[in-house]
Symmetry: C2
Subunit: 379 residues, 2 copies
Amino acid sequence: MNMLDEIMTPSLLLDEVVMRRNIDAMAARVAKLGGKLRPHLKTHKSIDVAAIIEGVGGTCGFTVSTLEEAEYFFAAGYSDLLYSVGLSDAKVPKVASLVRRGCKLTVITDNQAMADRIDARAAEEGVQLSVMIELDVDGHRSGLEPEGEELLALATAISNSRALVLAGVMTHAGGSYSARTEAELAFHAEREVARTRLAAQRLRAAGFDCPMVSIGSTPTASAYVNLDGITEVRAGVYVFFDLVQAGIGVARHEDIAISVLTTVIGHQPAKGWVIVDAGWMAMSRDRGTSDQDVDYGYGQVCDVDGQAIAGVIMTGANQEHGIIAASGADAKLDLARFPVGSKIRIKPNHACSTAGQFSHYDVLRTDGSLARWDRMHGR
Amino acid sequence: MNMLDEIMTPSLLLDEVVMRRNIDAMAARVAKLGGKLRPHLKTHKSIDVAAIIEGVGGTCGFTVSTLEEAEYFFAAGYSDLLYSVGLSDAKVPKVASLVRRGCKLTVITDNQAMADRIDARAAEEGVQLSVMIELDVDGHRSGLEPEGEELLALATAISNSRALVLAGVMTHAGGSYSARTEAELAFHAEREVARTRLAAQRLRAAGFDCPMVSIGSTPTASAYVNLDGITEVRAGVYVFFDLVQAGIGVARHEDIAISVLTTVIGHQPAKGWVIVDAGWMAMSRDRGTSDQDVDYGYGQVCDVDGQAIAGVIMTGANQEHGIIAASGADAKLDLARFPVGSKIRIKPNHACSTAGQFSHYDVLRTDGSLARWDRMHGR
């Protein structure tokens, strides 16, 4: 592939063919269940990728993880956004500014103390904020228990507030990342649906409106069988997939759409090491496969065309150096296969964190050409 | 500190008083040994910080880890730069462009195959390149054995090339990061000096010029006792320090100049967790203290003024969420100490990787004011 010779390494390659296949498959999956997608933009942070997702259809809006992402994508015409990290009052002026300009931005919280602070600040700003209550369905991170009294108390506080409107309930089944079998995935998916549905039913039974019922994670989105009562599914990583998702069992290695292109700069024959010019500044420090069945170090080594080279991984990373070696304890690399000056690709543990290290993609387009797509970078 | 209320979280705080103390101490240390510093710019990637280092003096140039850093700092007037990652031939046109514009850029390699490729490309470009031979003094990463035959063979190849000029030898004692006692640090420092000095002596005895003899790492730079025959010391992290350096024993916690400012967005009382709006997008995925005596998770929690809160760390991180908890297995956090909406600071495991997640610093200046300093971000 002489085309790649022009690219300075390390570089973030995106295979559009593979990505489109992933986008199509998830859209078809959720549509078949009668659901709508609210894809997460935090994985790719790319207007070009968002446009492809929107073109395929089946979406009811998008999800962001920072207000800077909201600004970036709102400026590009995406106006129905869910900011899926608990809002703090200091951020209300930024939210208010987006709302005033016509952005349908929904925010979340899981506690009354913050709801009160947000309400006071929103009232000062003279805007109404759509607020969802975050639920905890698996003890993973934040959120209220769907069965608890606090859910109704928080709904009451929001309803009695000056500037907040209850928009519904949402959760993220982050606990599903521990699943390793289809049965475990099904368990996480069913629990996420059932407990979120229950929270919505309890709110409605108590007289509250609950228009949005939002769930999601790439592992559970791959395993839902029934979305009755769920208004939207959030997922992000599925667009690119990665080694962690493959380890969970919801993707194959050939479904991984991004890789880091790097150049061999030296050999350490006594150790059986190949030294490349991609370190953790390129791969990130994410070691997400370290507690999975197969630990890929900092990534799976592939040839320049993207074909995995079995048993060869990036075992170590410094800031701008990577160490390529055999993954087996006694195995040694055939260094002649990796001549100095040649290029290889590394498939990442975690697409969000590796992509987060770059400000653009070098895209292998469906027509065989090469393009550069910017991504939002920095805060 | 009401001043910090204006800062959107998460944010990268830089305490200028602490940083200047670190810069002064290292400059004094190396000057006392009669040495010169070539500080690494990859840690801070900031023109403001570089100017302070240069103002203190005792430098003979700077070190960069990418050619993008070389472009960035050359544009700001820094013209004597060492690119300390093995060069590949595809990057020669970028190097040549800098050299033609007057940048005194030195590059490195550790093998003849790459030297030949670089030479061919440099000859095509019509430039002469200053090349140092990289040495391996501790089996850490790349480089040639100082005692081996390959060193002389590579020096011969460079001397016989069309476009390369032998500039000397360099090494990075990355193995020193495993040191935990003063005796171990002294061992790594002495070995780095002795083996590098030997390589320079062997080259000169064989009739080669060896004007530059370059060593360095923050741990060994803190432990040198004699720099005879060494022309420069490279170090980078010492400017900010971090928990890893504290674990090695070359810094105290109060010497750590950067921290991430974050806001409490919720509590999980049953688990004793505080949820904050800084995740691994802010801290990075670096878990550098995980194999040290004290594992700080994703960082040490401090109050908003920067005072460490003993026994409280960031135990978990998602993209934009952090989990704050007690570090002891049975200990539970007093959540009332961390009210929703309040701010805390997190000191990082590794300054280079945490700072690498941000595009600017919020600087607490020596005069008590707040400033914004940009940093180079992205590739």
